[in-house]
Subunit: 235 residues, 4 copies
């Protein structure tokens, strides 16, 4: 099992090996169920070395979260096309997001499933990252609303809700896509559906937003009309 034993490796390298092992193990077992013994074994080193370099299980988990958070944010940031329209930026960002989570399913699992579930030191870290992303999305939605000529129509609180919904939808899709990928992957598929998933996401969210910024609202009786009384009926 594990990698080939290689002795006398410089610290930086060993540290990375350990973090990789930790990501894998935390993703597979969860924070509590993952034992330092297993992490050390997966990393191909002895337990004391893990403690020497990473101090404690908590610190190790924290470090993992930080590393994976930063990697994810960096991937999304790098993917966003700087000069584009809001929808284009959102799309490229989503593509980066789906590509990264598909390529690093364990890291994503740690962030999305484990870190949020295990008490304050960690939940806070992920929440911070998520807030960062939600803020970015909120900004894009605002910009999109302006581009669509809808000035100040959407209450801030409403936009924030939409952003949360969008991010939640994206997270859910990322998980879904990963599961499907994991099962179906018989060999080396290049993170297959990042583009497709991003498109699905845009279709789901953007077209809806398009109408929304146009003044439409959904209401129990059907689509509501806007202020001017124009029909917004679905039929």
């Amino acid at each position: 099992m594990g990698a080939v034993k290689s002795k006398r490796v410089p610290r930086a390298v060993r540290e990375r090996q350990m973090l990789d092992a930790a990501v894998l193990t935390f993703a597979r077992r969860g924070y509590r169920a993952a034992s330092m013994d297993e992490i050390a074994e997966v990393a191909g080193v002895s337990k004391p070395l893990v403690y020497l370099y990473l101090n404690s299980k908590e610190d190790l988990f924290s470090t993992v979260i930080r590393r994976e958070s930063e990697a994810l944010v960096a991937a999304v940031t790098a993917a966003v096309e700087p000069g584009g329209t809001a929808d284009r930026q959102l799309w490229s960002g989503l593509e980066g997001f789906f590509a990264h989570t598909a390529e690093h399913p364990d890291g994503w699992a740690v962030l999305h499933q484990q870190a949020r579930t295990h008490g304050e030191p960690f939940a806070h870290q992920v929440a911070a990252m998520r807030t960062e992303i939600v803020a970015f999305v909120t900004e894009l939605l605002g910009a999109a609303a302006k581009e669509a000529g809808c000035v100040g129509e959407l209450a801030e609180r409403e936009v924030a809700g939409l952003a949360h919904a969008l991010v939640g939808a994206a997270e859910s899709l990322a998980e879904w896509a990963n599961v499907r990928t994991d099962e179906g992957a018989s060999g080396e598929r290049e993170h297959p559906s990042a583009k497709d998933t991003a498109a699905t996401m845009m279709n789901f969210a953007w077209t809806g937003l398009g109408r929304l910024t146009g003044g439409e609202r959904w209401a129990p009786g059907g689509l509501a009309v806007d202020r001017e009384g124009r029909s917004a009926a679905r039929g």
Copy 2:
């Protein structure tokens, strides 16, 4: 602490007390960190009794998941207005969902955060419930597409993706709404924003879907029309 000691309680009642205590404790601490000791203490019974009735920690957790799953599905099902249009049904279902999760935050936390994070026996159970809900949503989406005259155009896989996105968005909003509710609650507020949250969700998803079933697609360049240059409506 713990409940008031009461002897000679019928089994069904005792069992419910234990399950309630378990839900509370699992939600608070997580599966691994919750100890049978604490659960027994919170339930106000001795540990052996917990084992006598619920067999093991795994069984206990399973039973909790089953109970909470069924309660959630029942709540959503009951909320759906039977004879209405697809959007109306989705809306009422969402309202039921948000109302139930707001009323039972611990149960929802166990389902959403804990059960999925702790390995196979449990993740599967929640996945089953989620599948049930996604299937229901998928069905509604299909019906909506038909209502909109869009016959068979949406690939099944696409609809499934949308359903997942929708459910993910709803889950994300549920968490968001609960957190905000928790903070703002100064006394006894009747899970206030279930309706609002459902509306936000519909605005986010449905209006988008409306266009979608109308043949619109988002594409890198913006909303695309179909090949013939006709207005995006596909009739």
Copy 3:
């Protein structure tokens, strides 16, 4: 080894067994070197039971110190003859002290050697007891000075110093007597030299070496003259 296994023992009894085992083990090995494993084994129970009843190694050590301190103080207090002169009281107290330490060498070792050597939580506890004893001795010395008609001549600080020296001497003698007893004991000697040791101590401290070398001896009845009836003075 250890006592005969006896199952299902009431808590109070088990707790005492554990404390006895702890005293023995702490005395033999020292605080740090004593392992909870060994203590449990000596007590004839499993380790978790020790933790269930005594909480932690620190708590266990603290409890041991408290129990042994109280036992020692009680023994000395009980031995002091209430109505006697100061020297008589001191003598009887010393006898009680030496008798108790001879009968409970492990307890004494824990108090005198281990507790004071292992950091703040514990050193403080023993210091408190020691202070109590030193205060008692100081009081006796003051009374003795008065009885001897020496009013206010001895500065308080000086008396305190003397009391410390006296207690230190007694402690040293207790250790010395125990070691000699341990080695020499081939069978069951009833704590042999408590009276002798107390007498030695009184000769040393009370009458002073000066008089002692002049042939005087302290005895329960007062200062003794030598065989020839010469006055005790050496000059």
Copy 4:
């Protein structure tokens, strides 16, 4: 914060640095709690070097004990005035003892508190030194008895007991004096009370409380006179 890194230091010096660090650390933490890591860090060298020079923790502790024992014995021996009377010699020895322990509190703590508490290899070493000192005191007491014309009256066993009591008292006073000194020291006070402490000790032991309460005082020059001016001089 160890010492400033200095390369290529002769072995003898490095060894002394390590021993100093060890004394400090053992005194602060105790034998078991002191880690070779900390000792190496305090000494400002790497751990392997400590092992290269001092072999093992046990060896290191042994070496420390030996060094400190010898230093203490040397200090006492050097302080004793060779040609004086027995009391004078005892007094000067005590002064040397108190001065040395005040100047080297860590060394004294290691000898008095740590070495005796941690099992056989070490307790024996300190016992040997103590025996040496007790023997010296015993000898002095014998000489004093002779000087006083008391030939063979004091049983050897009795004298040994007295010597032990005396040494114990001195040790207790040393600790007491040091603690009081530590607290009161606002800057650089030259171990102030060695003389005072020695005087207290002599008053306590040599003259005896009996004479003391009669108004006599021991002083470097011999017994002091009482209030009425009667001579109390021995010679």
